[in-house]
C-alpha cells in the first residue's frame, strides 16, 4: 500500500477536512468501532469486577465451557474467561500496534526529513540504509534480541522481570525496522516542499536548518505521516500474530490476539470457537485501521473530489 504523495498542498481549512472525513462512512464507522474496542479493552479491569471473575486464575474443571451468564463468551483451554482474555489481549495488541507505529513514524519522519532536506550524499546514504533495513531478515534479530541480557543494558529490574518484557521487545524491534514507508513518504514530501517559496525564503533569511525542518516542513508533511501511520497500525497487529505463530511473539500468560489465535490453532478440531474470536477481532481491527487510513487520506488529500 503506497498512498500517493501529493505534490502541492494549498492550506485546507480544517473544517473541510472534517466534513470530508465524515462523509467517508466506512472510515467514520471504523473510527467509532475502534474507539469502542479501545474503550472496552481499557475498561477490562472494570468489567472484571462487574463479572466478578479473575482472568488469570486457571480453572481446570471449567475448560472449554460454552457461553453462559458468568462467561458470556465461554472459557478457554485453561478455564479462563474468554471475554476478559480477549479484552486484555486487545489492550496488548492495540498497544503494540499503536505504540510501535508511533515510534516508527517518529524515526521515519526524522530520517525522511533529513534525507529530503539535505539531499545529495546524505540522501543517498540514508536511502541505501533504507534498502538495507528492508532487506535485513528479522528472524536472527529477534532471536538475538530474545537472548540479550537486559540487566546488562542497565534497564531496571522492574522492567526486566516484568511479564510484559516480550511486549517491549516486539515494540522495539518493529520500531527499528518499520520506518521505511514513512521515511520514503516524508522524503518525497520534503523534496517538494524544499522548492517552495516559503522554504526558500526561510533559507535565504538564514533560518537554521533544524528550525526550517521543524517549523516549515514538518507541519506541511504531516498528513501523509498520519495516513501511513494509521495504515501501519493494522499491519503491525497482523505482524504480531505472525510472530506469535513462529513462537517469537508476546509470551504467555500475557494475552494478545496473536498468541490467542496461535494457541487456538491446535484446538481447531475440537474448539474452533477459540480461533474464531481472536481471528475475527484481528480481522475487524486491522480492516478498521485500513478504512480509517483510507478515509484520512481522502480527507487530507486536497485533490480528492469533493
Amino acid at each position: 500500500m503506497t498512498p500517493s504523495a501529493p505534490t502541492q498542498r494549498p492550506q485546507t481549512p480544517l473544517r473541510r477536512m472534517a466534513r470530508r472525513f465524515l462523509q467517508h462512512r466506512l472510515a467514520l464507522g471504523s473510527l467509532i468501532g475502534l474507539l469502542v474496542l479501545a474503550i472496552l479493552s481499557v475498561s477490562a479491569p472494570a468489567i472484571e469486577v462487574l463479572l466478578g471473575i479473575d482472568p488469570d486464575t486457571v480453572n481446570l474443571l471449567a475448560r472449554f465451557a460454552p457461553p453462559s451468564l458468568a462467561h458470556p463468551l465461554g472459557t478457554d483451554e485453561l478455564g479462563r474467561d474468554m471475554l476478559l482474555r480477549l479484552l486484555y489481549g486487545g489492550q496488548i495488541s492495540l498497544a503494540v500496534g499503536i505504540v510501535a507505529a508511533l515510534f516508527s513514524a517518529v524515526i521515519g519522519t526524522a530520517i525522511g526529513i533529513v534525507a529530503g532536506y539535505y539531499g545529495g550524499i546524505v540522501d543517498r546514504i540514508l536511502m541505501r540504509f533504507n534498502d538495507f533495513v528492508i532487506a535485513l531478515p528479522l528472524l536472527p534479530l529477534l532471536i538475538v534480541l530474545a537472548a540479550i541480557d537486559l540487566n546488562k543494558l542497565g534497564l531496571p529490574d522492574e522492567i526486566v522481570q516484568s511479564e510484559n518484557i516480550s511486549l517491549y521487545r516486539i515494540v522495539a524491534i518493529i520500531a527499528l525496522v518499520g520506518w521505511n514507508t514513512v521515511a520514503r513518504l516524508v522524503r518525497a514530501e520534503t523534496l517538494a516542499l524544499r522548492r517552495r517559496e516559503f522554504v526558500r525564503a526561510a533559507v535565504a533569511l538564514g533560518t537554521p536548518p533544524r528550525a526550517i525542518m521543524l517549523r516549515h516542513i514538518l507541519p506541511n508533511a504531516v498528513s501523509p505521516i498520519i495516513v501511513a501511520t494509521t495504515l501501519s497500525v493494522g499491519n503491525i497487529i497482523l505482524f504480531e500474530s505472525v510472530l506469535s505463530f513462529l513462537g517469537l511473539g508476546i509470551q504467555p500468560p500475557t494475552a494478545s490476539w496473536g498468541n490467542m489465535l496461535t494457541n487456538a490453532q491446535q484446538m481447531i478440531w475440537s474448539a474452533p470457537e477459540l480461533a474464531i474470536w481472536p481471528g475475527l477481532l484481528i480481522f475487524v481491527t486491522v480492516i478498521a485501521f485500513n478504512f480509517l487510513g483510507d478515509g484520512l487520506q481522502d480527507a487530507l488529500d486536497p485533490r480528492a473530489l469533493d
Binding site: D131, A135, P137, V242, L261
Partner: protein, 323 residues
C-alpha cells in the same frame, strides 16, 4: 542514464556487502549454535568434542575472519556447503528458488489480472456502492492473518470438501503437470487474497488521479468514446506507477512467503531461509539472502528505469537527483 545506472549499481553492491556482513554477524551472535545444542542434548559430549566439531565446521575462528573467508570464496563463485543439508548450498537453493518463483509468480500474475480490471472498474464509479464493495473486498484480503486464512482454506477445501490436497508439492508416485497444479491451488489462492487488495487499491487511486487530468477531461469533452478513452489513454498512464509497485514486489518472487510455505509444506525460499538461519547454516542463509536481496534491489532499479522508459515526462536528470 548510464551514470545513473552505474551509480545505483555501485550503491546497491555496497548495500549487499554491508548486509551480508550484518547478517553473518547476526547469525553468529545468536546464542545456542547447533554445537552448543549438541552439548545440551548429549550427556557424553565433552568440551573436546565441541571444539573438534567447531573446528570441523569452521566455527572456531573469529567471526570477522570467517566472514572474510566466506566472502572471498563467494566472490569466486564458491558458495560452499550447506551445513545442515551437507550438500552444496546452490544445490539446495536452486530447486527452492524455482518452487518459490512458481508460487509467487503465479500469485503475482493472478493478483494483477484481478486487480487491474477491478481497480479500473472501481475508479470509474468512485464512491458508488460498487466502489465500496471493491474496497471492502480489498481490505478484507489485506486484513486476514495469513496462517488463519491458510488453515481455514485447508479445512474447507482439503478436509471438508476433499477437493484439493492439504499441502505438499506433488502426489507421491504421480508427478504429472496436472497433479502438481492441484497442489498449487490453495497456496496461490491464499497469497493472492493477501496481495490483490493492495494492487487493486493502487490501480484505483492511480486511475482516479489520471481521470482528473486535464487532457482526459479534454478528450472527454471532445467526445472520444469513453471506453476507448479509458483503455487507450487513462489506463496506460494509470498503470505507469504500478510498474514501480510491481518492481518493488519483485524481491518477493525470490524470498518466498514463510507462513504460507509452512502451512502448505511448500518447499520454498521462505522456509529454507528460516531453517537455515535457525540452524546457523551460514552458507545457505547467506546465499539465499543474497539472491533475495539482489532481486529486491534489481527490482527497485528496474522499476525506476521502467518508469523513465514508459513515461517520457520523467527525465533521468530529474530522477537521479530526486529519487
Amino acid at each position: 542514464m548510464l551514470r545513473f545506472a552505474t551509480g545505483r549499481l555501485v550503491e546497491s553492491l555496497a548495500v549487499l556487502l554491508i548486509m551480508s556482513w550484518a547478517v553473518y554477524v547476526l547469525i553468529g551472535l545468536m546464542p545456542g549454535d547447533p554445537i552448543d545444542l549438541m552439548i545440551a542434548a548429549n550427556p557424553n559430549f565433552t568440551s573436546a568434542d565441541a571444539d573438534r566439531l567447531k573446528a570441523l565446521h569452521g566455527l572456531d575462528k573469529p567471526i570477522l575472519e570467517r566472514y572474510a573467508t566466506w566472502l572471498m570464496a563467494a566472490l569466486q563463485g564458491d558458495f560452499g556447503y550447506s551445513r545442515t543439508f551437507t550438500k552444496p548450498a546452490l544445490e539446495i537453493l536452486l530447486p527452492r528458488l524455482l518452487n518459490t518463483f512458481l508460487l509467487m509468480g503465479l500469485s503475482l500474475f493472478l493478483s494483477l489480472a484481478i486487480a487491474i480490471p477491478l481497480g479500473v472498474y472501481a475508479a470509474l464509479r468512485p464512491y458508488s456502492r460498487a466502489d465500496y464493495a471493491v474496497n471492502m473486498v480489498c481490505f478484507a484480503g489485506i486484513s486476514v492473518p495469513s496462517f488463519w486464512l491458510a488453515l481455514l482454506c485447508i479445512i474447507l477445501f482439503a478436509v471438508r470438501l476433499q477437493w484439493l490436497p492439504a499441502g505438499g508439492m506433488e502426489t507421491i508416485g504421480h508427478s504429472g503437470l496436472l497433479d502438481r497444479a492441484q497442489y498449487l491451488v490453495l497456496p496461490v489462492l491464499v497469497l493472492t487474497i493477501a496481495s490483490v487488495g493492495g494492487f487493486t487499491r493502487f490501480v484505483r487511486a492511480s486511475m482516479m488521479q489520471t481521470l482528473r487530468q486535464d487532457y482526459i477531461r479534454t478528450a472527454l469533452a471532445k467526445g472520444v468514446g469513453s471506453w476507448r478513452l479509458v483503455v487507450h489513454h487513462a489506463l496506460r498512464n494509470a498503470l505507469l506507477p504500478l510498474v514501480t509497485v510491481v518492481g518493488l514486489s519483485f524481491g518477493n518472487l525470490f524470498s518466498g512467503a514463510l507462513i504460507t510455505e509452512i502451512m502448505f509444506s511448500w518447499l520454498g525460499m521462505g522456509k529454507m531461509m528460516y531453517d537455515a538461519i535457525l540452524g546457523n547454516d551460514f552458507n545457505l542463509a547467506l546465499v539465499g539472502l543474497l539472491f533475495a536481496t539482489s532481486a529486491t534491489l534489481i527490482g527497485n532499479f528496474l522499476a525506476d528505469i521502467g518508469q523513465v522508459a514508459l513515461d517520457p515526462r520523467v527525465s533521468f536528470a530529474a530522477r537521479s537527483s530526486e529519487e
